[in-house]
Symmetry: C2
Subunit: 237 residues, 2 copies
């Protein structure tokens, strides 16, 4: 026979679990950029003695009066001056001992930006772009977080038109292939790549050609308007 359900108030529930309310929440941002045919990520020098000399992702604690999903936009704006970047929540990391300050859970977001269109506010933290392939070790579990976001990016670029956020508005198919190769860290077959991209119907022929190049100029393309995701503000709604 089913016993009847005992109700309790939310307040009583909290009092009986006070030692559970001892966690801080942070956000960490994996901000990808693309430059000189390399996929890069934005890192700062850690300001914790425990990680002296090591680099970490951009991040901060979520404030008591702040929604989780607002925090990454605040961090991005305050540390880089950027407010027009698309951020996607990827994964939450919650191992018991991941942070030396105590129990700090972190939610990771990734962003893709066109490096040439953004001016970093370097300040004291040595905020710089690092080639993803050169990163061996990071503070905290940030290497795991970076790898998880990189996997997410790799799994999405053939499904959704996200890679274009790394590029300028006009590009040749050769340049597009180079971006895909940098993300996937493999060489792609030219003909096969062009066939796969054509099927997606993401691109618009701009009726222009590349100029001032040492190689044979290619046609220029842009992402079709309906696929453009410009501003974090539009997307946060």
């Amino acid at each position: 026979m089913t016993k009847s359900l005992q109700l309790k108030t939310a307040e009583l529930e909290k009092i009986s679990h006070l030692d559970y309310f001892n966690i801080a929440l942070s956000v960490d941002l994996v901000i990808f950029g693309y430059e000189n045919k390399e996929l890069k990520v934005l890192l700062i020098k850690s300001d914790l003695e425990e990680f002296s000399g090591m680099y970490s992702l951009l991040g901060d604690l979520v404030r008591p009066d702040e929604d989780l999903d607002s925090a990454p936009y605040r961090v991005l704006l305050s540390r880089t001056g950027m407010d027009d970047v698309f951020l996607e929540q990827v994964h939450t990391f919650g191992s018991i001992a991941r942070h030396p300050s105590g129990r700090v859970i972190t939610t990771a977001y990734y962003a893709l930006i066109d490096i040439r269109h953004h001016q970093l506010q370097v300040d004291t933290n040595e905020l710089h772009w690092h080639a993803v392939n050169d990163i061996k070790k990071l503070a905290f579990d940030h290497k795991l977080i970076l790898n998880t976001c990189l996997e997410q990016l790799r799994s999405q670029i053939m499904e959704k038109p996200v890679a274009f956020n790394l590029m300028q508005d006009k590009f040749s198919l050769r340049e597009l292939q180079e971006v895909y190769e940098a993300i996937l860290d493999i060489k792609l077959d030219r003909r096969n790549f062009r066939k796969k991209i054509a099927v997606k119907d993401w691109l618009q022929d701009l009726n222009e050609m590349e100029s001032n190049l040492s190689h044979r100029p290619g046609k220029l393309y842009g992402l079709k308007k309906q696929f453009k995701r410009k501003s974090s503000k539009e997307l946060a709604i």
Copy 2:
């Protein structure tokens, strides 16, 4: 000129942010099942007075000595007796006022199970399967969490062989189409569906036919061995 970086200890960092360490973390499980051509989800009666009479997802607070990713398996085992279910982390919900006990952040996981192979431990909580289409309102922000996991499931079923976790080991293409229709909540074109599934190369022809049916028997198929994801324990590694 760049100022030099001031280091601080993790302990000092915590002391200067004590009011940030006031959060509890929970997990919520969206456990999908399939029965009578309907997509279902496992719900319990809420035991909080604030949500008296309302249903909620299965969930619990993460314990102080427990990794985030271990908690959903503990909840699943203790509430349903199941330990062989695939769980995937989907999204973390962190609005300031989402829980009446205080600041409780929740990480949502989804699971797909074959209803016929699992025996629920109903106990006091009125743990039951509910048709997803019949659910209008849930306690907390659980309707939003359900919708987010449903979107994730829908976006994954043509990319990965996940829907098969809802089904018995042997099935006809007609039964498979019914599962996809239940998840997507639309009617699919028979010929088109079969073509799309064939391209995936997920299925193995079992050289058997359906029997004891009122309609014309169809061929039976199984998921190829390399795509089977049986146990949460294997997958948690």
